[in-house]
């Protein structure tokens, strides 16, 4: 009996080893061959668009228009542009990339991950956002430097975060603003959000005293809970949004048509309705 058991366990071990060797072999094969080259997508597979979080509502509408025209559904991944760029670099399966700034589009272009040259398709400006009940009584950007204000900004590597910091630096040069304005405001930051909509959420909930976001982020539903304070024109930063078809696009043809729709009069109308500015020629 004892011997029988020993035999069993020996066989069990062998069987186990064989099985794990087999699965390990499969794994090695997968590793060796690497990622398969992009194969053309099945006709019914939706177009995949990676777009900056601020484009959420506008692009969803563009996507509906695209589906009406082309009969192809569009699937979106909205997030901070820095996060999307990293995902694309790590091999995410995407057809189109729409960034909220040039930095992350360049990152994709210099790595040879884009097809052709990216085109600017929209612009934007920043505003200061405060909750309706304005707990810190902020009425002008200069109030952001007051000690104790709980300010939420997008993180520095997020386009909105970079634009916000640039706007603060420019404000410091405006008449009536102290030269260390930017430093004082940045000392009030209580959270770095990973995309601009995180800023909007924290202000909307009334947890932050103030935040900085794009003018287009203040949709009608958001406007019910917040007040916006304009940043003087000379100090404001004009955001530029570039779009490109990606090298590994499985729907390259459809991706080009999506970009064309964004650039078309209809696409631009939709973007304008959501508070975006037209692209500035020669921003590249």
């Amino acid at each position: 009996m004892k011997r029988f058991r020993a035999m069993c366990s020996a066989r069990r071990l062998r069987a186990g080893r064989a099985a794990s060797a087999a699965s390990f072999g499969t794994l090695l094969m997968l590793l060796a061959t690497g990622a398969p080259p992009p194969s053309p997508a099945a006709a019914n597979e939706p177009l995949t668009v990676f777009a900056a979080a601020s484009l959420s509502e506008a692009f969803r509408e563009v996507g509906e228009e695209f589906q009406r025209r082309e009969g192809l559904a569009v699937r979106f991944n909205f997030a901070g542009s820095q996060q999307l760029a990293t995902q694309i670099e790590q091999g995410a399966n995407a057809d189109v990339f729409a960034s909220a700034d040039l930095r992350w589009m360049r990152e994709i272009e210099t790595r040879g991950l884009a097809q052709g040259k990216a085109q600017p398709f929209a612009g934007n400006v920043l505003v200061v956002l405060v909750p309706n009940f304005n707990p810190a009584r902020i009425h002008a950007p200069i109030d952001l430097a007051r000690a104790g204000v709980r300010l939420v900004l997008a993180a520095e590597n997020v386009p909105a975060g970079a634009y916000s910091r640039e706007a603060l630096r420019r404000l410091a040069g405006e008449p009536g603003y102290p030269p260390d304005f930017a430093r004082r405001v940045l000392a009030n930051v209580v959270s770095h959000e990973d995309n601009v909509r995180g800023v909007v959420g924290k202000v909307q909930l009334g947890e932050a005293d103030a935040g900085m976001c794009y003018r287009s982020d203040v949709s009608r539903t958001v406007a019910r809970h917040v007040r916006t304070i304009a940043i003087p024109g000379a100090a404001n930063v004009r955001a530029s949004y570039p779009i490109a078809v990606l090298r590994d696009a499985r729907h390259a043809e459809a991706a080009r048509r999506f970009v064309a729709l964004v650039m078309s009069a209809e696409g631009q109308r939709i973007l304008a309705r959501h508070g975006f500015l037209p692209p500035q020629p020669g921003t590249r």
């Binding site: 066989r11 069990r12 069987a15 186990g16 064989a18 099985a19 794990s20 087999a22 699965s23 390990f24 794994l27 901070g80 820095q82 996060q83 990293t86 909750p131 707990p135 709980r150 939420v152 993180a155 590597n157 930051v189 209580v190 959270s191 770095h192 959000e193 990973d194 924290k202 909930l205 009334g206 947890e207 932050a208």
Partner: protein
């Protein structure tokens, strides 16, 4: 006939187990394969990474103390008393284990945020939770409490009632009996529960970033730092991940090796 069946059973078992092991081990191996040992310690000493490490240790230890101090009385009630609505209470205690952490963070904001249910009252006492280290501790305690309470309850309930009767014949008060008899006897499970709770607090992400925000040195714990680093600085993300992995592995391994480990597993199984 039976022999072939036996072989088939064994093959199926081995294949299934191997597949599951691959699922569990390959990601860990992939993470470790990406580490350059030379740069690991160098990067570990970078201020941002050190700050996240320090903050994570401080908050998860504090959260564990908070959970033990407030969870022990509740575990005792659940283990030793019968009352109406106990079932519902038990479910409520378990809920954070299955609640999506972002939902938990949002609920915490609605409860303890400035504009939340108790925000005014808290502010009157000068307490502010969102965007503070204290908020991180509260979020971690909320998410990790069930791990301690479950284990502590099992430990407290497992004390043989004869000992309690013996203590009662000696006219020991309930409090005396608790500290002299119940507590020492259930210690292994209490320690195991506290360790599991601490490990969960260390890994907490969703509730923290939703409720407490993300600021280096104040609310950016290790998991948040990994998430942020993943968006632009993969090397830092790897270092942070490996450190978290090492801490979690050590904690669980220690738990298995001590007597509490076995008891903890038994308690979970008997529930």
């Amino acid at each position: 006939m039976s022999r072939t069946r036996e072989l088939a059973t064994r093959a199926a078992l081995a294949l299934g187990a191997a597949a599951m092991l691959m699922l569990l081990i390959v990601p860990i191996a992939a993470l470790l394969l990406r580490v350059h040992p030379g740069t690991l310690f160098e990067r570990l000493l970078e201020p941002e990474i050190l700050a996240a490490l320090r903050l994570s240790l401080v908050t998860s230890v504090s959260a564990t103390f908070l959970v033990v101090a407030t969870g022990l009385p509740l575990a005792y009630l659940l283990a030793r008393r019968q009352f109406r609505g106990k079932r519902v209470l038990e479910v409520l205690v378990d809920l954070p284990m299955v609640l999506p952490p972002t939902v938990a963070g949002f609920a915490l904001l609605l409860a303890f945020g400035r504009a939340g249910l108790t925000g005014r009252a808290l502010e009157a006492f000068g307490v502010s939770l969102p965007f503070t280290t204290l908020g991180v501790i509260v979020a971690q305690a909320f998410m990790s409490a069930p791990f301690f309470i479950t284990s502590a309850r099992a430990g407290l309930a497992a004390v043989d009632p004869r000992y309690l009767d013996a203590a009662a014949t000696l006219r020991a008060s309930e409090l005396d009996t608790f500290f002299r008899v119940v507590l020492p006897l259930s210690m292994p499970l209490l320690v195991a529960g506290a360790a599991m709770s601490g490990a969960r607090a260390l890994g907490e992400f969703g509730a923290t970033i939703t409720f407490a925000g993300n600021l280096p040195g104040v609310t950016q714990t290790m998991p948040l730092a990994v998430y942020v680093a993943l968006q632009s600085d993969l090397d830092s993300a790897i270092v942070l991940s490996v450190v978290l992995l090492a801490i979690a592995f050590t904690l669980l391994f220690w738990l298995r090796r001590t007597a509490g480990g076995g008891a903890f597993v038994a308690a979970r199984a008997s529930r």
